[in-house]
Structure formats: C-alpha cells, structure tokens
Symmetry: C2
Subunit: 408 residues, 2 copies
Amino acid sequence: MPVNITALAPDHLLPVPGVSLGIAEAGIKKQHRKDVLVFKLDEGTRVAGVFTHNRFCAAPVIVAKAHLALSTVRALVVNTGNANAGTGETGLEHARTTCAALAELLDCETKQVLPFSTGVIMEPLPIDTLVNGLPAAVTDLKVDNWFDAARAIMTTDIVPKGVSRQITLNGKTVTITGIAKGSGMIRPNMATMLGFVATDANISHALLQEIVRYSANRSFNCITVDGDTSTNDAFMLMATGCAGHTEIDERNSAEFQQLRDAVTDVAVTLAQMIVRDGEGATKFITVQVDSGYNETECRLAAYAVAHSPLVKTAFFASDPNLGRILAAIGNAGIEDLDISGVELYLGDVLVAEKGARAPTYREEDGQSVMNQSEITVRIVLNRGAASSTVWTCDFSYDYVKINADYRS
Amino acid sequence: MPVNITALAPDHLLPVPGVSLGIAEAGIKKQHRKDVLVFKLDEGTRVAGVFTHNRFCAAPVIVAKAHLALSTVRALVVNTGNANAGTGETGLEHARTTCAALAELLDCETKQVLPFSTGVIMEPLPIDTLVNGLPAAVTDLKVDNWFDAARAIMTTDIVPKGVSRQITLNGKTVTITGIAKGSGMIRPNMATMLGFVATDANISHALLQEIVRYSANRSFNCITVDGDTSTNDAFMLMATGCAGHTEIDERNSAEFQQLRDAVTDVAVTLAQMIVRDGEGATKFITVQVDSGYNETECRLAAYAVAHSPLVKTAFFASDPNLGRILAAIGNAGIEDLDISGVELYLGDVLVAEKGARAPTYREEDGQSVMNQSEITVRIVLNRGAASSTVWTCDFSYDYVKINADYRS
C-alpha cells in the first residue's frame, strides 16, 4: 500500500490557463481503461524536457527529442499499455504516425506534437488502436481535466499522482500543476517514468530549460525503487505565458528563483509520491549523506544503501540489522574511504561511529525508529562539506509478486 | 531450494596430505551447531589468498591479510554466527586474541594463524565463547574431516558445498579439495564469502598467488546473487607440497597450467554451487556477453542483467518478459552502445535484433526456455572480440522471506 499519500481529489489540481487535456479509452492493452491522454497547448507555449539516458530508449523518446529540437510544441500525446520500446524502425514509424494523426485533428504540424508511451517493453504498439482513440481524446479536451489525466497515465501505480502550487510574480497569480506516473523500473537518470508539469508563467525558453534540469536533479533524479532505469523516462515542463506578467529572462531575477523553487517543489512532491507508491512499498526512506568530499561520492553512498536488497528487506521486516547499511557504504566504490570516520544515524539515533557500533546505541532505540513508516538514514562521512539525499522504499514480498505477475 | 546440486556425501571430498581439519560447537550464536573450524597445515605449506574490496572489511580480513604478509601460515580458524565486521578496534583485538589462543594450542606463532568469520555484521564477537571452543576443535583434527568442515561453515546455506579433483603431475597424484559457503550478500569482488581450497601440489609462493587470482577472476568474481559485496569475503588457496613432485616454479610449464586449470575447475564448481544455493533461488542463470569491445563492457552488461530485480523476478515467474533484459543492457553504462547492433538469445532462441523483437521470435519458444531450471541468456554486442560470463539466480518471495527473517 502507498506510504502516507493523501488521496488525490479532482479539486486538488488547478487548471493552468493555456493548457487543455483530453482522455480516451483506446483499448491498447485492456478494455474499459483510460489509456490515451492528449495535452493541447496554446500558441506561444514554451516546452522544455529531460529524457532517459537508457541506451535502449524508446521510440517516442527519440521522436519527442527530435521534434522538441525542431519546432515549437502545440500538443503532447501519451499512451499507457505499451512502451513502444525495443521496437526498432517500426516503433519509430508508429511514434511519428501517432504525431501526424493528432496533428491533423488539431490542425498543427506533425513536428509540433511530442509522443510518450509507457507499458510493456518489446511488444509492437497497436498503432491503429491508438490512432482510432485520438478523436475521442480531442473531443474531451478541457482545462479542468488534470485529475482524470493523472489517472489515465497510471500502469502499476496504485494511486494517481499530482500536485498544484500558486505563487505571485509581478503581482500576477501564477499556477503550477503537475502529474506523474511510476511505481517500478524506477531509478530515473535525468527524469522519471513520466512527469508533466505546466505553468502559465511567462519565461524564456533558455531559462525554462534551466529550470527543468535544476528541478529534475533535485527530484526525479534523487529517487529509486529498484535501481532499474526505464527506457521511457521523460519529464516535461510547459510554460504557456498566459498569466500575463512580463517575460522572465534574467537568471538573477527574484522572479526566476521564485518560479524555479516552486517548480522544484512540485517536482519533489511528485517524485516522492512515486517512491511512496513504489511497487510493494511499506516504508518511505530518506537516505541523507553529509560531510562528503564531493556530491558524487555522497550520491554513490546514498544509492549503494538505497539499492541494497539486504538493506531494503531489513526495512521491510522492521529489523534494525544495521550492519547491512555499513556493508553497503563500504561497497559504494569510494576508494579511499576511511571507515573510522563514518557515523551512521537512524532517525536521531547514533548507531555506529569509529568503524563500530556506538557505545550509546541500544537495540530498542533502533527498533523504535525501524517500526515507523517514514525513516531517515543519515550517514556522515566526515571528510568534506558536500551532501546528497536520495528517497527510496523498502523491498517486500509484494514487489516480487507485482513483478512476477506484471504481464498476466 | 537449491537448483540442481548433487547432494554432497563425505566420500566426495578427498583428504589432502598435509592438511587436517577440526570442528567444534562453541555456541557463538546458537547451541548444538558446529560453528568453529580449524585448519592445521604441515610446515612448508604455502598459502595465498584474495579478499573483499568492501571498505568496511571485517576485522579478521584485516588481520588475515597482515599475517599473510608477515609470515608463513600454519593454521586457519573460521567461525560462523558472527562476522566480526563493523566492530572497530575491539574487533581487531578479538581477531588477534583468537589467533593467539589457537597458536598456543598448536605451538606456533600468533602471526602464523589466519582468522575468518561469517555471520551477522556489527555485533560484538563473543570472544570468550569462541576461544573456549578451540580446544575441542584441535582435539578433533583429522585429514578426512572435509565434509564436516563444509557443514560447519554454513550460515543461510541450505546445502554444504565442496568438491575434489585429482590430476597427475610428474607422475605423482595431486589432490585438490575445496569447500565454500555463501548464499546471500553475494557479489564477490576478488573473492567469495568464504572459500578454502587445498592441494598437496608443490608450487612456489609466487605462482600459487598467481593461481588464486586467476581462478578467482574466473569463478567467485563471476557470480552474483543480490549484488551486495560482503565485508568478509575471502578465498584461500593452500599448497602443502606433500605430493612429492618437483616444485613448480615456471609459469610456462605444462604442470603449472595443469594445476592452474584444475584449481580453477574446483573454484568454478564451488562458485556455481553458491549461486545454485542462492537465497530463494529456483533457477540457475548464465549471462554470457559476446563480441564486446573489451571485457570491461561485457562484464558491465552481464552484471546489469544479473542485478536487475525486474529481470530476476521475471525469471522467477518463468515469464518471457524479455524487454526487461533490453532495458537492463541499455542501462549498463556503455555510453556509445549502438542498440541496433545488439542480439539477444534466450537459450538458442533469437529474441531480439536491430533494436527490436526478432521477426522469427515466437512467445512459445521463449516460454519453453523460461520454464527450464537452467537458462542461458546470451547477448551479442557485435562490436569486438571480448566476452564475459556471469552466473546468477532468480529473485523469489523466499529471498525476501530469508532476509526479512535472518536475525530472528
């Protein structure tokens, strides 16, 4: 069950002027399930994005990157039920055909449409089924459709994921609304499974691209469920400019930083929701590494702990078998790490120092933290001023069950 | 249940002249369980070893490496029930005290004893209990004790692991017998959990060290159960010289190569036994990567597949959801990999080529390989002449169960 997520309700997600959304049941994998989502963007909307680094990246990822580089964007189309990944030349043709079909319905150019897919890998996309579902999605287009959109992009997700924030820029109210999907195959590298954030802020394309990287590096790039980087990861940020304030085009302006921080807040909330709804998750775990020599080694240590099946199963069992965390740190690939300088905290409890269990540590203190559903592991390397934080979940019977049964 | 391991019987393990073994119940963690093993080596025996690269390596690893560098070796002492890892200065004192106590009983020097431990990490070693168990182990010393020794070093292992081989060198029969333990926290880096191989061959120390590295790189360094490198890994090779042939001191001699290959055969058999008895294993999987640019990238691809929880749960479910293997290859960190050149075979079945499912692939052919208990995944990178093979197992409910319950 998802760990401490407040159930999303339709009125939690605010419309973003300039963005309308339409949903349909195309029947790509299962009947009676919303599986197509279309975003229609007002003219002048700027779009920036980051994509998976998986070398086997999906056909829609390749096409979306190419279209983004060629043109302004007027629409996005997302399908679930099939990832269109590991599908070769035919997959690329299918992604382009999808864009062309939507472009005709919306009266724009094919290169102004970005395609996204999620689902099973290495099965042919049923292109006719998808294309036949597009007219219904276009008919459904409206600005207050974000909640249904969040539900339409779910695969193994148990709960829909979305969040809205509002800020004031130059006296104008600016809205930021985002949705995301993802639950397994989660170890994003420059993005998550799929995340879409829109705002009506008015900002230059260069600064929008800067915000998408900045916020991804502090959100989707800090989470892991199982260490598997997906073929279809994408995180898109759209800015319609409809809020009516002066364009933000200065990196040093207060407005830029305000918008950047608000978008990052939305992205962090979405990324943490993905971990809280991680496949089989029963606990939400923050791994914070402090006082490292540089951020790279802090991330190495944090991910070594967050990926260790032994650490994750101990969390599932609420067993303070904390030597496994030391073993994971020792296994992080930090060549010159002096273990006698490392301190390990579970919540506020000092567990280990000087290469051994702390004299003050009592098993019942560790047990009491382990029994909680939100746990912070803090590792102090004592060799510098850098820090890094990674969010993850535990590893349960249900993870195995979900992934052993996924295609059936 | 272990995958296709022939049950070990006492007469499968041949005595090695010059090596006697003694076992005792010290009661380190549980009563009525053999938990101490002593090897006594004839004078003149040469010993070489490789050890874990985990920075949080255990106290006995540090002491064993130091003693090995200082002196010839007359004895080894192994305990289960406690890893003496993450135990700081006290742990080092305990390891030295163990060596001193055994040295006194065997009338040799402390530095001539190598200590080894396996069990829970970051709990103090009950040193008095261990030392009090040593006299009984010494009383038990005999040459035909290998089978009981294999049982005495088990922790979460279901079956004892051992193998013997004989070869003829210069007209003399030479015996090689080895035992190993390990089932979880298995992704050895220069060694396995614990492996001990002895031979009565007569070989120079330099060439013995070369054999231990050569054979480790082709055996224990090619396996993974869960990707967690232990704090206590060690693989020791002992050569007593009792077989009576002329000393092997030429790298180019036929005798050297014959002995090296026989030791490697023993090490590979032991390493594969560890995977076959991997925690929760139901399948034995060989991941073979061919036609790579160099061995490093072949190993990256092989380990990316062998470590992916999504791939491993699909094997557990016998589900030919083979796109997960493509995603893992794409995620291996081979920056310039051209996916259109990659071929994927499951057994003899061509599954994918040119970045997509092969036109000849039929789901029922993949299913029929997936239903087997021994599966070979072959990945052809088509960009060079290098190869690498990794052995692993699947990921089941029982892995989670075993590791959620380990300390109880």
